[in-house]
Symmetry: C2
Subunit: 342 residues, 2 copies
DNA sequence: ATCATTTTCCAAAGCGCTTTGGCAATAGTT
DNA sequence: AACTATTGCCAAAGCGCTTTGGAAAATGAT
């Protein structure tokens, strides 16, 4: 079924059908209803390609997700983010186009996406320090919005980020207030912007209390359970082990907990743990009472909102790019407690 | 830049440019090279919408992922599957379109996807028992391939599945061979086809050894860490606790391990554990030596292959639908050992 | 009843590509 | 030299939609 046939069936012009379906005023209510009914009956939906050609808009957003080739690592956060974004898209009649690209090859991906006219804009995932993608997209004139920020890039652009610095600063202070003096950091790869900022927040808090920043209790790697486990073991083996650990993700935190419990220690008594919690649907932090004390910010919600930002920007390209800085909430669970007396 | 302008610049017809770029023979090598060079120089890529309109193919595959509204649960397996599929798509010049749909609303998603002509086919995720989607897609005439199978649907269709039944049957036998008599099952939701089949395999093996199938050591829920933990605790609290546990996912298994270690038990000594391992990139089962004994099958690889199946089917619609049954490999880790003497 | 508006509809052009049918020009055969 | 194939190219139609520029019909104002 297509416009032409539908119009013929009804004995009206294609124009009228098109207008009726797209809510234009210059069509009689009676005919509009007739047309709407027929469209529904024939299960008609306008051909997206044709519509796109005619209007010059793709009504689609591209997500280019970089994959670290080394570990073939797909960010586990990704599924939930996408789910959130998708809600926004379906509400606004947008499609979501996914492209998985090896880390570093994003340049070509963006420019062909643009040249092929297949999307109206893109979401930038996993911004790194001094990320070049933003400048590239600016020069391409392809609308975009960044999930996170890129330290090192000047000039305005649309982004949504969790305030990682303040979240980790606050978490660190929380531990300091509990009397902890040696606080370990188990971070993500620090060329990633979010991880860099988290470290800043952590170091800032320590500096504010005049506490020595000790690289021997700071680790950065891909945020796996194994990373959390290994790093925690190593740190607990030190002559001066940390009494608290700050950790960058729930998956990591599972490893941290394992290393702690393996020694017969109890979380929140012998070693305190705070993790960042992206509120992933398949990794909930306890049911009613949270297990981990956590800096929490829903990545699904971020997806929803960032998608909306981009859509707004596409609709209104002259407006200044919007930016959203979300404050993570600190939820107190059972994984933290006063520093043990030595 | 578009075809018309490019042709004008070069002083040839659009036809010639089109043929040159698409590798048709009826164009002189010299002019072809001239055209190719110009295209590269101007960063030209044919407009996908226009191309699609002209050819009648979208060169895109749709992924409709159902989301359980209850827990807003995105299958954690999804990211890796997508990453795999994406590799195939980019190799074949296909785009990937993602639609997240509330469980049960897939019907409409498929039919509008079809009506709008936006994809050439779809991948069906998370098939359930007696899944109606397959019949629907057949009636729509939209090519599809299923990740998994749907018990209850008769008639041929394209699918790729892990042999869940044999994997869990084998795993159960493995435990039985180690002398375990009480083997717990921590499964996914059993209206999901894969979970159903796993249970079949488990029960089959027990029956083959004449062992009583005890519902009190069988649990089914969404495969979260908490589910693994809770179920294991409950089962270990029984008067006759299981000496071994079979578990449906790595995430679950983390919870199982936690419950075991929490009691001071040692995995592989006091309680044996086998889990299914989808080889998720962010949840690797140990580095060199696997931690868990596991039935292992890479979901990323499944994505790669299923995508290829669908593309082949689209290219050759009259061929019989292909089916692939992958055998999971049983990798022995440190989480299993002989049944403890009572 | 006449003219000016407004309402309701339409024909046709155009979006950027592929593809059909055909026409020169060249090469190959006798 | 005359005829047939082959090669290399082109003009134009068509994919399914939107949208412009009217035009006919209905309505309102005088």
């Amino acid at each position: 079924m297509n416009l032409k046939k539908l119009a013929q069936n009804l004995g009206v012009s294609q124009t009228t059908v098109s207008r009726a379906l797209n809510g234009y005023p210059e069509v009689n209510e009676a005919t509009r209803n007739r047309i709407l009914a027929a469209a529904r009956q024939h299960n008609y939906a306008p051909n997206t390609r044709a519509k796109g050609l005619a209007t010059g808009r793709a009504h689609a957003i591209g997500h280019v997700i970089p994959v670290a080739t080394r570990h073939e690592m797909v960010n586990p956060v990704f599924g939930d983010f996408i789910a959130g974004a998708s809600e926004t898209y379906s509400r606004n009649g947008y499609d979501m186009l996914l492209t998985v690209v090896e880390n570093g090859n994003e340049q070509e991906a963006y420019s062909t996406l643009r040249a092929r006219g297949v999307v109206d804009g893109v979401i930038v995932h996993g911004p790194r320090m001094n990320d070049t993608r933003i400048a590239l997209l600016d020069s391409l004139g392809l609308p975009f919005a960044v999930h996170g920020r890129a330290t090192g890039h000047s000039g305005p652009y649309a982004w949504l980020d969790v305030n990682n610095r303040s979240a980790f600063r606050r978490a660190t202070h929380f531990l300091l207030d509990l009397g902890h003096q040696r606080i370990g950091l188990i971070n993500g790869l620090e060329h990633m912007d979010f991880a860099h900022r988290r470290r800043m927040g952590y170091e800032e808090a320590l500096a504010e209390r005049g506490i020595f920043i000790d690289p021997s209790i700071m680790r950065a790697d891909e945020m796996t359970e194994a990373h959390g486990y290994r790093s925690t073991r190593e740190m607990l083996d030190l002559v001066q082990p940390p009494t608290a650990i700050l950790c960058s993700s729930m998956i990591c935190a599972l490893g941290v907990r394992r290393a702690i419990e393996e020694r017969g220690y109890v979380m929140g008594r012998d070693v305190s743990v705070i993790t960042h919690d992206d509120a992933l649907s398949y990794l909930q932090n306890g049911d009613a009472i949270p297990i981990f004390t956590a800096t929490r910010s829903s990545v699904r919600d971020a997806g929803r909102r960032l998608a909306q930002m981009l859509i707004d920007q596409i609709a209104n390209p002259t407006a200044d790019p919007e930016t959203i800085l979300l404050e993570a909430e600190l939820t107190v669970g059972t994984s933290t407690g006063p520093a043990p007396r030595i």
